[in-house]
Amino acid sequence: MRCEDAHAMLIEGEGGERPAALRAHVAMCAACQAYARDMEGLRAGFRALAAQAAPEPSWGFAARLLRRLDELGEKSRGADFLEQVGRRVVYAAGLLTLLLLLALVLPASGPLRGPTTSELYWAQADTAVLTSYSILPDEPLEGRELNSQVPGANGGEGKR
C-alpha cells in the first residue's frame, strides 16, 4: 500500500476499525503513524467542540419572535398593497405605449385610405432623385447640361 492510499483511507474512515492492510502499513510507516495520530486528534477536537453547550434561548424568545412576525406581517401587507398598485400602473403604461406604437406603425384603414408611411417615404425619395438630376417635369429640359451633372453620361469621354 502506498502512503497516499493510506492517507485517503485515514481521511475517509469514520474512526472505527481500520482495514487490516491499512493497519499493517501504518504499523510499519512512521509518516503514516503521524498522519493517523493527527487525524485522530482532529476527530477528538470535533468531539470536544460538539460537547460544548450552545447558548439557550433567552426568556420570552418565542414571544418576541411572534411579535416580530406580527410587525413583519403588517409591513408586508403595506408592501403588498403598494406592489399591486405599482404593478397596475406599469401594466397600464405598457398598454398605452403598445397602442401608441401600433397607431404609428399600422396603416390607417377605412374606405378613404390615406398614404402609408412607406408610400410617403418612396414618394419623397423619388422627388429627391428627380431634384438632384434637375429633370423635374415642370422645368424645360432644353439648355441643361446634363453631362456635367451626371457622371459617366458622356460615355467614354468622361474617362479621358
Binding site: 477536537g45 470535533f46 467542540l49 460538539a50 450552545a54 434561548p57 406581517g73
Partner: protein, 199 residues
Amino acid sequence: MEPNRAEQDPQEVAWIQSAQRGDREAFGQLVERYQQRVFTQVFRLVRRREDVEDLAQEILAKAFRAVRSYNFRSSFGTWLSRVAVNHCYDFLRRERTQPAAFSGPAGDRDGDQPGALVDNLEAPDQDPERQAVLRDLVGKLLERAPADDRVILVLKEMEGLSVEEISEILELRPGTVKVRLFRARKRMLKDWRSLRQER
C-alpha cells in the same frame, strides 16, 4: 429517513398546517419545540455566542414566511435545518472578511504549549484541559475554513449526520457530499498539521 405525513407527530402536522394558513400561534408551538435545536446548529456553524439569538430569530422568521413551501417530504426538523444552514452559510460568506475571536472557555492559548496534550491520545477525552486545547485548536481551524467546508464538517463531525441526511439538507447528491467531505477533511487536516507546527 423521509417520514411522510402519517409518520409525523399528528400534533406537529396540525401545527404545521395551521402555520401554513398563517396561524402565528401554531408556528409559535413549533418554535418552542425546535428553538434549542436551531440555537445549537447556529452556534456550531457561526461559533459566536453573541450572534446566535439574532440569527436564530432571523431563521425562524424566514421559516415562517416559507412554511407554505414545506411539503412533508422530509421531516420538519430537516426542512428547518435546511433553512438554518442556508442562512448561516450566507452569514458566514458575508462575514468572511472579519474572522471572529474564538469564544470558548479556553480563551486564546497561543502562548501555551498544548502539543503534548493533543498528542497524548491515551489521555481520556473527558480530561478538561485536553478538551479545552482541542476545542480551541479545532475552533480556530473552523473559523479559518471556507464556508462550504465549515458547513459540511459541522453537519458530519459535530451534528453526526449521515451522508444521506446531509445530502437532503444541502440538496446535493450523496456522491457530491462524500467528495466535498473528503476534500474538507483533507484541507482541515493539512491546516491542523501546519497550525500545530506553528505552535
